[in-house]
Amino acid sequence: MDMSDFQELYASESREHLDILNDSLLTLENDPSNMEMINESFRAAHTLKGMAGTMGFDNVSELAHVMENILDLLRDEKLVVDTEVINLLFKAIDTLELLSNSPEEVENLDELIDELKSYSQDGDLKDVEKRSFSDGDKNTFKISDEELQVIESNDGKVITIDIQLEDDCVFKSLRADMVFEILEDYGDIIRVLPGVEEIRKEEMDNNFSILFLGKTDLDKDNIVESLIHISEVDRVKVDLVEDIDQLRAKEIINKEVKSNKDKKEDRVNEKDKATRLSKRLKSKSTIRVDVERLDSLMNLVAELVIKRTQVESVGESYNLDELNKKLKPLSKVTTELQNAVMEMRMVPISLVFNRFPRLVRDLAQGLEKEINLVIEGEDTELDRTIIDEIGDPLVHMLRNAIDHGVESPEEREKVGKDRKGLVKLSAFHEGNNVVIQIQDDGKGINPDIIRQKALEKGVVTQTELEGMEDSDVIKLIFAPGFSTNTEISDVSGRGVGMDVVKTKIESLSGSVDITSEVGRGSTFIMKLPLTLSIIQGFLTKVANQEYVIPLESIQEIVDVNPKEIQTVRSQKVIHRRGSVIPLISLRKNLNKEALTEKRNEIPTVIVEVGDDNYGLMVDSIIGQQEVVIKRINDLSESLQKIAGGAILGDGSIALIINVEEITTN
């Protein structure tokens, strides 16, 4: 084998490694935390270096070596993966390619090697904390003589504060405002980098710096502590400025760095500029819309759905086939329009969840408890209206979990639990509902205590209690005027809350449930409809009035033969598929007179509530229909059995049955 054979082998192998380098760096650029990609490119560069060394290609070997150094620094997190370093590495790869194919075309190799070297040295010099900030030129505060005088005439501490926001931070200027607001308590802001205007317009990277004149008794750690709790703030670094003149000196040094940087910037090729431009354009393709406008759009769509139903009913009653045929595509379009509008109104539940880490921290501190708050499914989307309404109930339940649920660290240690109590807040989709759970691993709810309390408060009678299972007893905490904590704490108040929570959730057509195990903790489960305005329902007739049963709770519709009905403990039931289903007469439940005529078949809608099935007996069934829910402002008493009104095609109103309520009473 002569030298040319080796050369061929070397060429094909180095090609392979260069491809690996290219691919892994591309992946890395999109996913800077991908360690695997750094390792992969490091291995490729290392192999290249060895191969070139054996072949005596010293320039290739040297270039591969400096690449290896940079990748090593990236791997040890001494350098941050950013466009600059990736660009530099790509440039090196291009040169390597050129070196192995047509070495004569390679220019300025030494310059490139020097650039790579100086870059890796920069990384070496940057201290560990500083590298967490993606932008190199910190603290380039230009101080006017006036400002310097102010600083010198005050005997406060001068500090610089560097804030790094999370990469996907959405409300940069808002977060910055929050930072400024908190800082106001500690002293005066002298300078902000970039300027306040830029921050307002969000013309900044994900970091900004503040030159700050603090009070004399200022504590660095306090500032860090209070700033880091602002959501979307990733890192906070506070440096004491010992010598004011240092600021001036720094300015000069940084100017140099800057000019160096500018040079690098110039080299960024046109393609990069184009990518950046398209990115900027992309970020502008969202617009902010007033919620009121969305509401009125939603109302118009709802109106459209009603009108469509009206036209449909004309077509049906006059048997106008031609019209009916033409209406079908129209109804498809309105349904799609409706979905589109509803999607526009969907916002992630993180809007509500985001404020909880801070709240929980404060609560835990106030109650001298240690809490580990875990949040899951914050991307789950809900209708804007519901998001606006669930904040308070959620806060209340969280408070309850922390105040009444989780024990003190000492108590927890005694029973062999982790000192830190776990509170898990999670949200997920389940059919047409969104489920929100608040789970704690605290002491749980003791049904015996609830029994005793419920009797004392007159929530239930002794006889009622005797027939109740533990799981039902626990649900008594939702009864009006019930409190399990004998002492009144300022956190959870007087325990008037849980029934208010229940009412609130139900007013949103949702439901709330609880499971608990003594010593193991409790779980609150809230089920909320994805959207409030339009639902699929089954139209039924009871005593000459129309009622809608929401489709989501319907299991099946059956005709019950009166002979099948049995009576168990004065409750009418039927047997279906091995389970016993209690029957509920809607006539009786809605204060209507009982039907006098005997029927051979009773139309019955089987609904599911929690894990139980119930049969709702109606007079007749009309059919499935999409209905627009309208809230009923009742004056006299709470309309618990009715979830709202639906306007039908002929303009009349059908009442929407609150299945939860009607089955629990």
Binding site: E303, Q545, I632, L635, E637, L639, A654
Partner: protein, 153 residues
């Protein structure tokens, strides 16, 4: 002092005439189909569909303890504004709109013991008739039974 005038809508219930301030009235509509609610309160007749919105309707006859009357051509629903929401009041008929001088308003006579002062702002004599001016917000807020019949001694 210049006398203030106000406009009042006068309506009939039974043999009595009542007045409400025109500024409280949103609109007057003909009787429409009322959907009953499964509640025990007799005063609430039910709900109606008012151009896509659902509003509660109160039967003032029942509210004042007068026996029901079959709906006639003259029966109207007066839609008023109550605490930011619309509420309908069923009345026998709407007769006129009056310009009244506030100085002409008298205190209700002592003989009208059945209806509490809270619910009326005063009475006014229009020729032979007496119009009872209603304080709507109190009337709608309260749940107690209101007896209208003047108790003849």
């Amino acid at each position: 002092m210049a006398a203030k005038t106000r406009q009042t809508i006068v309506f009939d219930i039974g043999d009595e005439k009542f007045g409400v301030r025109i500024t409280e009235v949103y609109e007057i509509i003909r009787m429409k189909k009322i959907t009953e609610l499964p509640i025990s309160s007799k005063y609430i007749a039910g709900i109606i569909n008012l151009r896509g919105d659902i509003i509660s309707v109160i039967d003032l006859r029942r509210r004042f303890g007068i026996e029901d009357l079959e709906e006639t051509e003259d029966t109207r629903i007066i839609v008023v504004d109550f605490e930011g929401q619309n509420v309908g009041l069923i009345v026998d008929a709407v007769s006129e709109v009056l310009h009244i001088n506030e100085d002409d308003i008298d205190l209700p006579p002592k003989s009208m013991v059945g209806i509490k002062g809270d619910y009326i702002t005063g009475i006014i004599k229009i020729e032979e008739d007496i119009v009872i001016l209603l304080e709507l917000s109190n009337l709608l807020r309260s749940k107690e039974k209101i007896k209208l019949q003047t108790e003849e001694a």
